[in-house]
């Protein structure tokens, strides 16, 4: 290709000044030789030759301003090539044929972003039917999580657990109790205090085919690792055109514990639910904790599994079946009702459940929905409920701005606006860092009375 074109030298450059020629007609040039200097809006750059040959003609004089990208600026003939092979155009440098065709093609190809195709719709699966007369076993959320991991570790040798104090200490919150004894130190691995490093290491192991369960002692510490969770794990499948997977679970307690202050009391639900590529689960009950953690470990996708320290000791009934799996992405209707819909998840469900008991006693027929999964979000269940009740209150511990309640509110406004009989109300954590003082901490968190007040407001009861 004998023509040297005016190059684009930055992602945004459209034209530039040909400030200086460093070769003259008759010079021999080879790959890498600097031919000219070009001034862009940002800097002076050098143009290197890619081809070998003799400079036959300089088509643009040095000092020329406003030379458009892809204009031929010189003619370099390869050994044995004759000038007749390429048309020279000293005056008014029209884009010459061969290379410009490709440039035009590129230009044509670029604005092909015509209509944005519709996003595929997520279809949630229903919970499995339990066998009739199945035995229900009472256990804590802690035991449920522990059983879920033990069962999956037994089932699949590629599953391993990694984190701070997960092995010899038996887990900072005892979620990994006895796993070391059963599965040994090759599969239950104590890490140094090094969240960024071990999160990245686990993502790499997942790329290579393993199925890591990464325990963060709390999600507060995972901010050290959030780059690896989002930039490496969540985006990998997409960036690789579907080739490289990151089948893994990041889990640990999320949200406020009690009196541990601002840096140890934060709800990351909205943060992770923002990210395409991640699955985000935040269970409330023991049964959901077990069934969803097992499903998360088997998922081919990176899963953020948000537990809650205060809920670890709460008990619930878990069906005693061989392999209790629940569908990811399906909300659970905790109570059917007709007057108002309350939507919550994780610790928010505790306030919502207690408020529901009082409201039902007061004659309000509440429909209570536990989202369980935050991404993909089961909009359908919420929308169907709102179409029935016409009123919606959301409850979460996180901050209000850009929160889960804000997202649900927006979706309901978009998809069920005409069904609403009152504005959606959000009950959230207050828009402050978590205070330490007992009275202030209580004020910063949502509470049962706030949920009741919100329901009263949307049902226009005083």
């Amino acid at each position: 290709m004998p023509q040297i074109l005016m190059p684009a030298l930055s992602p945004t450059m459209e034209e530039g000044k040909l400030s200086k020629w460093l070769v003259k007609v008759g010079d021999s040039v080879k790959s890498g030789d600097v031919l000219a200097e070009i001034e862009t809006d940002k800097a002076t750059m050098e143009v290197e030759s890619v081809d070998e040959g003799v400079v036959k003609e300089l088509l643009v004089e040095e000092g020329t301003e406003g030379v458009k990208v892809n204009t031929p600026i010189a003619l370099v003939l390869a050994e044995g090539e004759t000038a007749a092979a390429a048309p020279a155009a000293k005056t008014a440098p029209e884009p010459a044929e061969a290379p410009v065709v490709t440039a035009e093609k590129a230009a044509e190809a670029t604005p092909s972003a015509a209509a944005v195709p519709a996003a595929p719709k997520f279809e949630a699966q229903s919970d499995p039917d339990l066998p009739e007369g199945v035995e229900m076993v009472e256990m804590t959320v802690r035991q449920a999580l522990n059983e879920a991991m033990a069962e999956e570790l037994r089932r699949d040798k590629d599953v391993f657990v990694m984190g701070e104090e997960v092995a010899e200490y038996q887990g900072a919150y005892k979620i990994t109790q006895n796993l070391l004894q059963e599965f040994g130190p090759e599969r239950i691995i104590d890490t140094p205090i090094t969240e960024h490093g071990f999160a990245g290491l686990a993502v790499g192991a997942a790329f290579a085919g393993l199925k890591p369960i990464v325990e963060f002692m709390t999600w507060n510490f995972a901010m050290q690792a959030i780059d690896q969770i989002i930039n490496s794990a969540a985006k990998q499948l997409y960036m690789s055109g579907g080739q490289v997977k990151a089948p893994m679970v990041f889990r640990g307690p999320n949200g406020a514990a009690a009196r541990v202050g601002a840096q140890h009391s934060q709800d990351y639900s909205a943060w992770y639910s923002h990210v395409p590529g991640l699955t985000v689960i935040a269970p409330y009950s023991a049964a959901d904790a077990k069934g969803l953690l097992k499903a998360a470990i088997r998922s081919p996708n990176p899963v953020v599994f948000l537990e809650n320290e205060i809920l670890y000791g709460s008990t619930g009934l878990v069906p005693k079946v061989d392999d209790f799996l629940l569908p990811i992405g399906k909300a659970r209707i905790a109570r059917k009702g007709a007057d108002v819909t309350i939507v919550s998840f994780s610790m928010g469900m505790r306030y919502a459940t207690q408020a529901t008991e009082k409201l039902v006693a007061a004659g309000v027929d509440v429909e209570l929905i536990d989202l369980r999964t935050l991404r993909p979000l089961d909009s359908d269940t919420v929308i169907e409920s709102v179409k029935k009740t016409g009123r919606l209150v959301t409850v979460e511990e996180g901050w209000p701005q850009g929160g889960i309640g804000a997202e649900i509110s927006a979706r309901v406004m978009e998809q069920a606006f005409d069904y609403l009989d009152a504005p959606v109300m959000r009950v959230t954590g207050k828009d402050v860092p978590m205070p330490y003082a007992a009275n202030l901490e209580k004020l910063a968190l949502p509470n049962v009375d706030e949920v009741i007040a919100a329901v009263n407001a949307v049902t226009y009861r005083s």
Binding site: P11, A109, G197, A199, Q243, P276
Partner: protein, 339 residues
């Protein structure tokens, strides 16, 4: 540790390991393919066919070539940062697929959805192509963790630059890699500049081979412009890792001729410095001289190789120019896998 470093430095200065004519020829082909491919990529960037960021490997060819020659292809994993085109070419990934990814076309290695910094191949055990400086170091240790967990005898080779060597997670990773004796070789490609900041302005200590000293990870400084030195050091480091002794650090003293990315005028270094490297240290010229002076190849033979390589690059460029963009429906694919 100081003793080790001195010993190895001495070793890189004398007793230069010799290549057979076959090895020199192989290195010549691989390095020339990278050089010509990258020159073409630079040209296509100039024509607007490649967008965004484009980091060329020109000048550093001996590093990835020597290391890959010393590794087991298809078995050992490799991972690097964003200056990744050369790694893929030497590992045997299709130049057409690499170039088409640069132009964002459907035949690109990532279907056009990754770009210059994000290409991968499970088959060739190449794990990118990572855009966040330093992230590939812990990811690379994870590949080594998986190798050890599965007991498959493979080694992970994790490349990063002198700039990434100042990231915190690198040291978190060094600690775990040594603690758990992971089969990983850390390659620090020291090209002297982290974007526009020279190592002297960014690093409290500039002997990066010593960066593993507090973790008792052995390290060597290697002349990264001499493919024989690279190969020899890599062979020993990979053997060390494969034999269960844990990680090894190789600092490759190398140089990039072009700017950090396409829009970098490289005003932070002198023209003389670049010229000196190109004229006196160029990795390809060294091999070429050996092949000719040793009487193994004539100028004519090498011209033929050059023409073959230019044909490969032209074919890649043509494919990358004419291949269609990904279908609009691809916007919504590969986000998650449906269970």
């Amino acid at each position: 540790m100081a003793r080790k470093a001195v010993a190895t430095k001495a070793k890189t200065q004398s007793n230069v390991p010799q290549f057979t004519a076959e090895q020199d020829l192989e290195a010549y082909r691989e390095m020339l393919l990278i050089r010509r491919f990258e020159e073409k990529a630079g040209q296509m960037y100039g024509m607007g066919l490649i967008g965004g960021f484009c980091h060329l490997y020109i000048g550093q060819e001996a590093v990835v070539t020597g290391i890959t020659m010393a590794s087991e292809k298809g078995k050992d994993a490799q991972i690097t940062g964003y200056r990744d085109h050369g790694h893929m070419l030497v590992m045997g990934l299709d130049p057409k697929g690499v170039m088409a990814e640069l132009t964002g076309r459907q035949g690109g290695l990532s279907g056009g959805k990754g770009g210059s910094m994000h290409m991968f191949s499970n088959e060739h055990k190449f794990y990118g192509g990572n855009g966040i400086v330093g992230a590939q170091v812990s990811l690379g240790a994870g590949l080594a963790f998986a190798a050890k967990y599965k007991g498959d005898g493979s080694v992970s080779i994790a490349y990063f630059g002198d700039g990434a060597a100042n990231q915190g997670q690198v040291y978190e990773t060094f600690n775990m890699a040594k603690l758990w004796k992971l089969p990983v070789v850390f390659i620090i490609e020291n090209n002297k500049y982290a974007m526009g900041t020279s190592i002297e302005r960014a690093a409290a200590t500039t002997d990066f081979s010593m960066r593993g000293a507090s973790f008792d990870i052995p390290g060597e400084q290697v002349d990264g412009m001499d493919v024989r030195m690279v190969y020899d050091a890599a062979r020993r480091a990979i053997e060390h890792a494969r034999s269960g002794k844990g990680p090894f650090i190789l600092e490759m003293l190398t140089y990039r001729y072009r700017g950090h990315s396409m829009s970098d005028p490289a005003k932070y270094r002198s023209k003389d410095e670049v010229t000196k490297y190109r004229q006196e240290r160029d990795a390809i010229e060294q091999v070429k001289a050996r092949l000719i002076e040793g009487g193994f190849q004539t100028e004519e033979d090498l011209k033929k190789i050059e023409n073959d390589i230019r044909a490969i690059v032209t074919e890649a460029a043509d494919f990358a120019t004419n291949d269609p963009e990904p279908d609009a429906s691809e916007l919504w694919t590969d986000i998650t896998i449906s269970a």
